[in-house]
Symmetry: C2
Amino acid sequence: MRNSSKPVGIEDVARRAHVSITTVSRVINHVPTVHPKNIERVEEAIAALHYKPNVSAQRLASGVTKAIGLVMPGYPGIFYSFYAVELMRGVGHGCESLQLDMVFHITNGSNPLKSNSVGGIVFADVIENRNQVDAALEAGLPCVIVNNHLKDVETHYIALDNLLGGRMAAEYLTGLRHRRIATITGNVKTQAGAERLEGFAKYLKSKNIPLPEQYIYPGDYSRQSARRAMEQFLKLPERPTAIFAASDDMALEALAVLAENGLKAPRDISLIGFDDNPACLNAPVALTTLHQPLFRMAEEAVRLLHSIMQGKTKKIVRKMIAPSLIVRESTAPYVPIQNSKEGHK
Amino acid sequence: MRNSSKPVGIEDVARRAHVSITTVSRVINHVPTVHPKNIERVEEAIAALHYKPNVSAQRLASGVTKAIGLVMPGYPGIFYSFYAVELMRGVGHGCESLQLDMVFHITNGSNPLKSNSVGGIVFADVIENRNQVDAALEAGLPCVIVNNHLKDVETHYIALDNLLGGRMAAEYLTGLRHRRIATITGNVKTQAGAERLEGFAKYLKSKNIPLPEQYIYPGDYSRQSARRAMEQFLKLPERPTAIFAASDDMALEALAVLAENGLKAPRDISLIGFDDNPACLNAPVALTTLHQPLFRMAEEAVRLLHSIMQGKTKKIVRKMIAPSLIVRESTAPYVPIQNSKEGHK
DNA sequence: TCCAATATAACAAACGTTTTTCCAACACTC
DNA sequence: GAGTGTTGGAAAAACGTTTGTTATATTGGA
């Protein structure tokens, strides 16, 4: 079945199409100055011979590499979460539409930078692999960071506007006339966690809505921390009427604690999450949340990188993406207490 | 900071080390016939000049491609599950240790095969992208399939022995003296689902333990199907004393249904899952299950592929990997009914 | 001292493209 | 009909390595 001899090369195509090698190359690279008749001939020959250009030769001759790297933190890290998956899918999709190869690299700690087989790198969720970013920049490789931004590194990024997200949560809940709003923060040592809290708190302050100390529970994205937070909130003499959890995962646990105490969202307490984690779709109460468009962000990162690689983008691009509010069932307008247990519908 | 001129090449290294280009190449490729002194010199020069070989040129000249492809089914598919993640991590780790680049490709349906930029392909969870496998084989690319096997395709695979897995579940439960054992099957249209059931049923039959129709609930890996299964089982006059769920996810739902009915595993019913899904680690009752060593399987697939690419492996390798039994809390020996509610400890 | 044998190293020819340079052919214009 | 553009194609020079072949030291034995 398989012809054991040499693979077909550009020369074979040229011979069969009765044109020169140059012309074949031009057809492949869509150079406009080729006679239509010749284009047709060449394409026929390519199809007939099952010709595939040798990528290495193309790269070597042209100096252009049609591949990008994607580096992600490995386990233990964000890798197990839906973040990773969405980001990967987005990058994959972007590469697909741009006809780029995607070489994938999982960071195990402080691994050396990969060889020069890519024309640029997308870094997803940079945390402590910033030395890798530095190395890549040093090597002259274009880099785009997605879903995170390093304050002190001079490079492009596409990041979620967590500050705005926190603010949106606060805005939405106050718009529902809630005035006693508590929050279970994410790990405030992470930028995302800190910013979500900051945006949230600042908005309340600007509206003169008090945010007492005991309404801020310093969580860490873990279920356990959400549980402790809820237990604290429920013990309070002035129970909050709404809660902003900095992740859907924590919101889910909050929902569970509520249920264990015979309470229900949104009847007793409104609850808003963050992330729009698909794993939370089958929660007992559908979660109102702030959606992170990770897929689109990743895709855009690839587009940006490609444009940089082509020299089309010169200036540093730093883009903040707004989360979007997804209103589902876990939030409702504040209803003043009626002395009875009866809830409004 | 950056020197704008040409990147350093092998020639620059040779000049600085006062040796020929050939010698430098030999040092890079660890050819043994180089004088130690020269090795040292060359390495010094490489380090001093920050020389990185041009991968494209290496590939072109040597004809060897130090990169493999990983193709995975895209969404909607297995991509969101831990399967994908474990498999990817395994492949990533294998590539790392073998110094291979890994170019990643998410299949969106019937996409054409990627260019010839890889020396071989690992297919993860092949379902209906078998035309891609065929295309790759046709193109002369070595292929290894992991976590699945296509009966009618002549290629290598590393697959989980689901038949054995089902059998192990049955063996373990009967070893605990259970005699009324039910199963919630996976989707029996998938090979895995069918085989898990088959192995399970065959073992019981061989031991003359009855497996009545109503003890086999045809699930589909979904939570809902597990719920329906449990509702059916609990209504039975002769309730099963043990249940084999073909996935941890379904087992988890079964646990929930049990709890809703005031029952508990393993006190009232023993429950064994399949997969060892890390997402189920924080279940209320730790799940006894059959572990799939996906990570190791993927790693091994890469090793195998590499060996094929080097011409070291000629014959077709088809390997079945045994799952391993992980005993946790959800199973216990069968205790004859005592007329009272008191359970044994 | 000379020769054979054995380590090392150098030369030069691939590897399969892209791309620059140059030339021919053709169509205009005056 | 000569001059001037314009268009399309051919020849050949890169691109940065690897590698088969040939040359040069170096060593040991006679």
